[in-house]
Structures are given as C-alpha cells and as structure tokens.
Amino acid sequence: MNESTLISLSLFALFAPLAGFIITLLTGKRLKTAYLIENFIISLVLLASIIALFVKLAYYVDKDIVSEITWIDLGIVPIMGKLSIELGILLDNVSLIMMFVVSLISALVHYYSIEYMRGDKRYNRYFAYLGIFTFSMMGIVLTHNILMMYIFWELVGLSSYLLIGFWYEKKSASDAGKKAFIVNRIGDLGMFAGILMIFVTYHTFTFDKIFAAIGEGILPFNSEFWLTATGILLFCGAIGKSAQFPLHVWLPDAMEGPTPVSALIHAATMVAAGVYMVTRIFVMLTGDAMLFIATIGALSAFIPATIALTQTDIKKVLAYSTVSQLGYMVMALGVGAYAFGFFHLVTHAFFKAGLFLGSGSVIHSMHHEQDIMKMGGLKKKMPITYWTFLFYSLAISGIPLTSGFLSKDGILASAMSFGSLTGYHIFAVVGFLVALLTAFYMFRLLILTFHGEPKDHHKFDHAHESPALMTVPLIVLAILSIFAFYTLNPLDAQQGWVLNKWITTPTSVVPESARYPFMVNHETHGSAEAHGQIIHSVEYTESLHHSHYPAMFLSLFVALLGIFIAYMMYEKKKMDADKIAGSMKPLYNFSLNKWYFDELYGVIAIGASLRLTEILKWFDNTIIDGIVNGSGWITKVTSAISGWFDNWVIDGAVNAVAYISGFFGIALKKTQTGKVQTYVALAVFGVMVFYFAMRLL
C-alpha cells in the first residue's frame, strides 16, 4: 500500500457516489431495481473508506498526504501577483476518520431505507438523492482548500433541501425545505465574505498555504482584529450548517424529511460539517474568535436543551438534542479542546444516527405516529429497538462504558480547565447544566416511548419489531458506541489511541499576542515534543489533568441525577410532571413554544421583509411609476403642441403659399385673353408705368 493507492481509494470514495447518483437518477424511471445499484456503490465506498482509514492509521499516522492539481492558472495578475487556483484532497487522520464515519452511516442509512421507504412512489429518486448527498459530504471532508469546501458546502445544502422536501406534496415539508435552504444561506453569506477576505489577503484558497502565510505574520489588513473577523465570518457558515444559535430554527423543521435522512443528514454528517469546518480552520482562530465560538456553542447547547424538555414529537426532541450536542462540540472547539470536539463529533455521529434510526423504527411500526404521548409499552414488542435505544440514551447522557461518556467528559474537563485558566467559568457551568438536561429529556423520551402502558391500543396492537435490514444498522451503531473502540480505559479517553495517536491538536499559527494566554507555549511539554504538535502550554496540560477527575465525577453525578428525575417522574410517577409544569407555567410555555424563536423571526425577519416590500411597492407605485407616467404625460403634451404647430403653422404656411399662388393665378388668368390688342395695351401701359416709376425714383 503506497500513498497513491490511498489517494485513489479516497478519490473513488469521493466520486463513486456521484456516479451512483447519476446512474440511479437516469435509470430510476424505468428500472425498478435501480436502487440496488446505488446500494452496491455505497457498499464499495464503505469498503474503500475502511481500507483507506486502516492504511492511513497503520502506516501513515503522522503524515498528511496531499494530492492537488492546478485548476486555473492565471499567471501574473496585476496588483495581486502570481495567481493560480488549486483543487486537491488532503488526507490526514481527521479527514479519513470523518470519511469513514460518513460512508459508514451513509451505507447503514441506505440499507435501512430499503425497508423504511419501501412502497414510496419516488423510491429510486430517494436513493439517487442519498448518492449526491454522500458525494457532497465526501467533498467537504476530503478537500484541501476552502473554495472546494464552499462548493460542496452548497451541494450538501442542496441535497439537504431535496431530501427535507422529499414528500413535497406536504406543505409543511416543502416549507421546511425552503426554510432550511434560506436560513443556511444567511450563514453562508458570512462564510463567503470570510473566503473573500482570505483570498484578497493570501491569494490562495489552500488551507496549508493560508496557515503558512499567517504563521509568517501576514494578516488581513495587517491587523489581528481582521484576523478575528475572518475567523468569525467563516464560522458564520458553521452557524448556519450546524444549526447553531441564532440560526438553529431550521433543524427541528427539517424533521419533515424521511427519518433515515434525518439520521444521516440532520444528525450525524451534514450538521457536523460546520464543526468539521471549524476544526479545519482551527489553527487560524484568534483568542477572541474562539471566545465568540465558545459563546455561540454554549448558547446553542443550552437553549435547545431546555426546549427539548417539553416537546412531545419524538423526532423534535432528537432534533433539539442534536442542536444541543452540536453546541457542545462548537463550545469544545471554542475553549481550545480541538481533539475532544472532534472526538465528540465522531461518537455523537454514531449514537445520534442510532437514535434517529431507532425512532424511525418506532415510527415505522406505529404507522407514522410521532407523538410520544400516544406511545408506551413498546419495550416488549420491539426488543432490539428498545435495547439499542437504551444504549444510545446512556451514551448521549454520558454514562461510563459508552463512547459518549469519553467525549463528553473530555469536553467538560476542558471547559473546567478553561474556566480556571481564563476566569470564564460559565462554559463549564453551562456544560454540566446541559448534561443534566440531556440525561433528563432522553430518559423521558425513552420511558414515555417504550415503558409503561400503551396509550393507543389500536396502533399498539399492530406494532411489531422492524425487519432485519432496519435492526442490523441499529446494532452496528450501538456496537460502535462502546468505549472499547476508542480506548481500553473506559474512564479516560486521553490514554486511548484515538486521542493519543490519531487526533492531535495542530499548532496554532496565530500571532502569540492574539492567542489565549494558555495556548502560548513557553516551554515544550515532554510528551508533546514527541508529536511536536501540541498547542497547549504546560499549565493547560496540568490544569486539564487536575480537572479530569472532578469533571468525571460531576458529569456522572448530573447524568445520573437527570436519569433519576426522569425515572421518578415518568416511570414511578412519584412526581407529577403536569403539576410541576403547572407550577412553572410561564417557563413551561416558554420551552414548549421553543423560546418563541419562530415567532420572533416571524416578526423581525419576515415582518421587516414585508415592511420593506411595502415601502418598495410604494416607491415603485409612486416614484417610479410617477416618473414613467410623468414622462409619458410630458411626451403626450409635447406631441400635442408639436401636432398643433404642424397642423396650424407648418400646414398653414404651406396652404397659404398654395392659396396665394392660386389666388394670383385666378386673378391673373383674366389677363390671359389671347387677344393681341390686350397684350399690346398692357405692354404699352407697362412701359409707361416703368417709365414713370424710373422718373419718380
């Protein structure tokens, strides 16, 4: 296995789904089994990804492989200098792990959808859309420059739009598709501005070259402030795509799409693209930009967690939970915990995809019932779904022996040490609070769905365990949520191979004065030197070490507390949920109505747009139309005057000439008698007149 094989495998994994998309789309109308082609291709892609990941981690673990071609060579451009745009792929550990995650979940969702979508009238088209989504996502993951990332970024937006609105006959589905697309566009605008800033300053889109230039001290407009601004602008793209506050409103609505799509796009991969992008630009983020990112992450973790407490739609609860967990990842990156942020992205992808597929299994067997208040008692009917769902819930709540515990604990420990080093303790507080809320709402969901007595007996009687194509993906994802895949010590991920060997925090290239103080490396840490890639100073490493055990116990405590409250409230019914809700009516309503974000945006964004269109309409009707009508009126008046002038003055002159000629003609006709004597008389008379006239003169 050499490097070129690795590159070929990655390129295959990138372009094969595109081929699958085209073939399935073209043959789908006539060939009933076109979906099998797409499934076959995605299986090959999964295989290629596994081999590529294995080879990379086994042989090239410390080496980044880049393959690029020059796309556009503009030569020497005035003002900017030498300019060429490269396309290429960057294979490092992060991108290959991500490629594996994407292809695995994509493949599982493909297989799952064979059963889940059976009988749909656009069955083959659905698989074609999954193909283009996989292609676009692979593009984001593998690209080595931000221009390609932006192109694929828009492509995932497109495939997301197509799949959310897949059942477009439903008004709510087509509306949700539009909403997702438009809200994403707002964030992408910021990202585009950031890309332009980068290109104007560095004349390249390639990550490595940009970072190298920043490392040499070249900054946008020669100021650290603008470097911060560029980082925040790029992060705006992540706010849109990863559904961060304040653009999180599209994700819950996106649940109108088919449930496997929600698992693939809106839980595991596409929404994680924003977080992935932040990991890519992590080294160029200044301290201020990171603080901004951490704040957005904390808000996005907290607000949706409170909303998820009261929702009764099984998918809505999971959607808000997704936003909350994405907020966690963003916050982790913001507080400098690069490795834990990405680690949580991976673990979350598995268990959240599992949760969505589990909920899909429930919805499928309950004949598209999504209200958890009408479920209950499904534990006996659907044992595989139940047990896997329980395991995922334990993982997302952060109970030991699960992958979720490892990554979540790491984030909380990082937040705590961040607090002790910089004084911003709020991130740790929010982290633990969200951990409590997460454990509570997940077990509320679990208990209401699977435990207790069935509420809708008719539907309950028809409920059944889903077929193997749907349960096997659940089991696979549950297995991948076990700690053993990441570390041998179930309590400490730091010791495991994932964080110790595979994911190493890259060195920040930002000028030292613009970094967090603790990221300035005064003396190189012993073990860090081996990799030469640790950005953190000694005090950070020590602080992280110190906060490890407190964070672990505290997070375990809050998780168990959350589960306990949910258990008492919904299983044992020792606490009356309705009574508690009644005693906090305003808060309850606030949460139930999603903090009134939709209403707020309805008033601000939509209302303002409507007002603006009213004003523009008035402007059009009054000013523009006035000008047009005025010029029309002026033309009309001018032409009337000109017409009058023509009719009376010009025609009058012409007619007068003719009339005068005619008059004299008639008058002089009489002299033309033909009689010689008259002529003679006139001649004589004329001579006399002439003579006297001459005399007088």
Binding site: Q672, T673, G674, K675, V676, Q677, V680, A681, V684
Partner: protein, 103 residues
Amino acid sequence: MSSIGLNHFLIISSILFSLGVFGVITRKNAVMVLMGIELILNAANINFVAFSAYGGFPVKGQIIALFVIVLAAAEAAIALAIVLNIYKNFNNVNVDEIDNLRE
C-alpha cells in the same frame, strides 16, 4: 411764337405715335391694325430725321430713316400675307375673334 424747333417735331411724332398705338389697340380689322403700325414707324422716322437735323450727326439719322421705310415696306408685305392667310383660315380678319393665343 418762335421759330420751329426740335420740340415741335418731337410733339408731332408723339401725337403720331399715340394715334398709331390707339389704332393698333382699338381697331377691329387687322388691316387697320397694320395701318396703326405704319403710323408708329413713321413717328419713329420723324424722330430720327429730327434728331439728325438738330442733333449734330446729319447723315446717320436719315440713312436709318430710309432703312425704316424699306423695313416698313417689307413688313407690310409679310403682314398682309399673314392677314390673307388668317382670312383663309378664319373667314374674317377681326382680331377680337382670333384669340387662339389664349390656349
């Protein structure tokens, strides 16, 4: 009353000329019109002779007068021939009725 001078001749010739013009304009008969023309020519002849006698260039005026007489004779011959042809065409020589020039 003083002796006869240039003015007397000029007055005579003016009267003769006016009578000639009057004849040309008023007579209906073409032959009478021709006679009017003869009067005008002779009025001119008197002027020539008078100016030659009183004007200081004695021979030239008289020679021209002789030319005019010859011319008048030729003219009379041709004009009478024309009148004869007119009579053949129109059966009269009344100039009022011969107004073909109008067309």
